[in-house]
Symmetry: C2
DNA sequence: GCTGTCTAGTCTTATTTTAGAACCAGATTG
DNA sequence: CAATCTGGTTCTAAAATAAGACTAGACAGC
């Protein structure tokens, strides 16, 4: 049957997942953060079928997460570049990275790592309160503002 | 063909998406953060097919994101509770929520909102450097430590 | 400026996943 | 102790995915 959609949901989490919550989209965005920009580069790096990649890139462009720009090397080809909206996914990617790093690797198992410009490992993501105090999950709740459920 | 897997990937983002990056898992976890614990509650709230939910819950328990505990009301039923590993997904959910909120709603459109215990809206997720300075995407890079690609 | 190769796709097909409904066993309620 | 609620499992049709064959236009060498 047709896959369930959440593009109308009142919950931003549901809407976000509806937009980019499939197997490939966030991996494409991750690669874009790593500097990949060309169709062939994504295809080689991810090992994704070209048809899938084509569909996904088209959707990401439609969503204004990526945009088509003239190739940087002056050729007639085009490249996929992150938009502002795409760059705003940075915390999501980092969150997944830190969770995966913390819970999905055996001790000593090789994995890539996020570092700052000086090569120093970055800290953990922090959710600040309005006053700047770090908040944990148990100190927050979801307030329903809309009309419908959730 | 069988869906591609990334459980062996060197990149923690890929491994995390392999574990919880499907349409439903993160929505189930979101609901768990909102306090839902029973099969029927998830099923009603998400409108998910029971077969899907059953499969997803089993996988989340296997991954140790959720665990089965005796029902809080003393009945013979069981409930699904977030584990430590599940609670650590909080920043991921919040990241998706903030992105969705910022980019997927028209001005004034109703949506749910994350607030602290005093009812104050929370701030944006922050990625601090080791010294505590907030970092943007352009100030970080991925260091490859493993043997294989990415 | 012709030929071969590269890029960026589309199309086709087999297989897997999903949605939705029907069904069922054990627990709980009246 | 009969009806209903809870928490599933099983079945089927439709949709998504993977993988490879195919193609049009760009580009590079000669």
């Amino acid at each position: 049957m047709k896959r369930t959609g959440f593009s109308e949901a009142d919950c931003p989490v549901a809407r976000a997942l509806d937009a980019i919550g499939d197997w490939w989209s966030l991996l494409i965005v991750r690669d874009a953060f790593d500097g990949l920009r060309r169709f062939g580069d994504f295809q080689k790096n991810l090992g994704i079928a070209k048809g899938m990649l084509s569909t996904r890139l088209r959707k990401l462009v439609e969503l204004d997460v990526l945009e088509l720009v003239p190739a940087a090397d002056g050729s007639a080809y085009q490249e996929y570049a992150l938009t502002r909206r795409g760059r705003d996914l940075f915390p999501v990617i980092v969150g997944l990275r830190q969770w995966g790093e913390a819970h999905l690797y055996a001790r000593g198992e090789a994995h890539s790592d996020l570092v700052d410009q000086a090569g120093q490992p970055v800290g953990q993501l922090v959710l600040p309160s309005r006053t700047g105090r770090p908040l944990t999950w148990s100190e927050t709740k979801v307030r329903k503002v809309g009309a419908r459920k959730r």
